[in-house]
Symmetry: C2
Subunit: 421 residues, 2 copies
């Protein structure tokens, strides 16, 4: 008998009918002889609807109260799934994040998990019950207030529980069949990956692959939790995220896949005085505004001697705040102006095999050149190459790279509508 943690996203439980289908799958897993812990996101658009209500009563709702409000969404979906399981004759008990022992920091809206003490979950399992845990939420270790984990929170709850319970596998049910070599909506012959290492999955997630959130993969890697990403609409095997690069054999595929991200914008700070400490001032300004930056490049400005241009990318929806923060410090830092451009897209090639294959960068650049795509910025890690291109050329770039590295498959990809949380 093994212990399985299953996580279902919001679209998988959007209606009473879908909840019943999810319940059937859970009961089937239990009947196959496994202990089952289930994490469910809020139903369909519940979170958005609650957010709307909040905005109607307050322009800037306090984060503590927003957490109290939003966590009711998971409470509703979890108790409904528990009822549907009971209707099938199995035992089920639902628990809030707090009851399940999910202890977090007190940073409302973006709390981090500090510890998981799943005594009540273990007890429910020992009594033969299926345990349901409300995802995305926990309780602050200091203030005992209800907290939420922010984006990707339910996936993280599932992986954290799997780690604390020493589960055999954490199954993430989603509306796609697994992790693909590229987004099948852009690349029709994208191939489903059977396995992917934590490191590669981290790079894919960081590069815009939406199937798993970065922090959830980080957690899984740290605690060595095997994560099985699969479809809630079929019984097909999905993608197993497990293992480290060090364990890979030489026969391993050179390249894992192509990821893309439309969510970034580019900021160029023009004619920055070229002496020590100035770049630090710029990035401190952005950090003080609590904005994460991604790619960074610095070029010598030819037109203006003793000056340099600094370019970086950041999430589009933080763009205007970043520009405003910089403008406020223009005279102190001493640059001439800021150029903001959100008509950009990022395309990344990820693969553990590229470490030992120096020709990858060359092939990468040739493929884009042949497709007529101009490279704006280029950054690399040990197992990833990312470039910033014009947003209108992003799809072309993804297809060109997918083809150049021969990642295609004959099997048709399955795409569903809807998103989870």
């Amino acid at each position: 008998m093994s212990l399985v943690v299953q996580k279902y996203g919001g679209s998988s439980v959007a209606t009473a009918e879908r909840i019943k289908r999810v319940a059937e799958r859970i009961v089937a897993t239990r009947k196959a002889g496994h202990d089952v812990v289930v994490v469910v996101s809020a139903m369909g658009d519940t979170t958005d609807e609650l957010m709307d209500l909040a905005m109607q009563v307050s322009p800037v709702p306090p984060a503590r109260e927003l957490d109290m409000l939003l966590t009711s969404g998971e409470r509703i979906s979890n108790s409904l799934v528990a009822m549907a399981i009971s209707a099938l004759g199995a035992e089920a008990r639902s628990f809030t994040g707090s009851q399940a022992g999910v202890l977090t920091t007190s940073a409302h809206g973006r709390a981090r998990i500090i510890d998981v003490t799943p005594g009540r979950i273990r007890e429910a399992l020992d009594q033969g019950s299926i345990a349901l845990v409300a995802g995305f939420q926990g309780v602050s270790q200091d203030t005992k207030d209800v907290t939420t984990l922010g984006r990707g929170g339910s996936d993280t709850t599932a992986v954290a529980l799997a780690a604390a319970l020493n589960a055999d596998v954490c199954e993430i049910y989603t509306d796609v069949d697994g992790v693909y070599t590229a987004d099948p909506r852009i690349v029709p012959d994208a191939a489903k990956l059977d396995t992917i290492t934590y490191e590669e999955m981290l790079e894919m997630a960081a590069s815009g692959a939406k199937v798993l959130m970065l922090r959830c993969v980080e957690y899984a890697r740290r605690y060595n939790v095997p994560v099985h990403v699969r479809s809630s609409y079929s019984d097909k095997k999905g993608t197993l995220v497990t293992g480290n690069m060090e364990d890979l054999t030489v026969e391993q595929a050179l390249i894992t896949g192509v990821a893309h991200d439309r969510g970034e914008a580019k900021v160029t700070v023009v004619a920055v005085p070229d002496h020590p400490g100035v770049a630090a001032k710029i990035f401190r300004t952005i950090a003080d505004a609590e904005i994460d930056i991604d790619m960074v490049v610095q070029n010598v400005s030819i037109a203006d001697q003793g000056k340099t241009d600094i370019t970086f990318t950041l999430p589009k929806d933080e763009g205007h705040r970043a520009v405003a923060a910089l403008e406020a410090k223009r005279s102190e830092i001493g640059f001439s102006n800021v150029i903001y451009n959100d008509h950009v897209g990022k395309v990344s090639l990820v693969g553990a095999g590229m470490r030992s294959h120096p020709g990858v960068t060359a092939t990468f650049c040739e493929a884009l050149a042949e497709a007529g795509v101009n490279i704006d910025i280029i950054t690399t890690s040990e197992i990833r190459i990312s470039v910033l291109v014009r947003d209108t050329e992003l799809d072309i770039a993804v297809r060109a790279l997918h083809k150049a590295f021969d990642l295609g498959s004959d099997e048709e990809a399955v795409i569903y509508a809807g998103t989870g949380r």
Copy 2:
């Protein structure tokens, strides 16, 4: 500075606009220098909608999960009210029943409050914050599971908190102006009462007056909590429930009011063997089915010697269950048949003054006789007379009694649509 507990029903917080209005009233109370604790019911039809969802996934949802589901309604309304208060510049913190220390039995769906340990509420007040508590819910002392208190639960939460915090008053905001001498929809000149004793309010509530639930009044009486029933749509003084009959002066009004109840049905068990223990068997059968009975009468049956008829009333929606339970024991108990009639209504006259005025019963019966209303069953307590009449004659009976005891007023009653929980 005094401590005020305010309770707002579901219709008072049914929309974002109404939530903002409630927030204004709460902040005004705080600005007047009082400490304020607020209990809010779920928004409008939320509870019904959640119930609908439950029924869609399970024909008989487990009570524990139903409680987990339904309590999300109060969580939503309370956090929204907290946000609306913050938007007005005041400090507010919302708490679940569990966080507020509402400890209950583990009888899901109809838990009783065992104790209230409002340490976190006291702390919030001491820090200058307004404290909001989700009504209708608590946490089981034994199992640590989330419980609900059943009908009238939010009122009871408010009174229990007022008792535990030693509050100066518990204000119950509702959609009527207070407690009336009769339902103004039946009796247009019904008068609003300025004060009413706990005992009278208990009898009125037990007799069908819907403005306060019985258990809430019982709680208030036991802990001597003054309850102010008032309208959430005006600033007018409502009705103060306080004081005991013993403290009443002789000038006190003879009669408090006329209450009515359309929710009961009548069951007659015909030709019951007239020897000891048989009536007990009948009422044990009903009790085992967990059905509460109200009025009971036993008549000697003239037609059939050695036999008697036993008649009692009970909630209409339990009627068929009661009849089925009795029929199953027909041969054991030895009666001939059961007659069920739900075309009945109960009208009650309540007043502490009637104890020392023997003529009240005579006037009561004369008034009904003059109005042509036939009395089916009559029962009395020290301060109440109740009769069962035909349902079509109920309104006539209420008006006749109200007039006979001269309870009318010139001031117009204010009636709003909508119901709370």
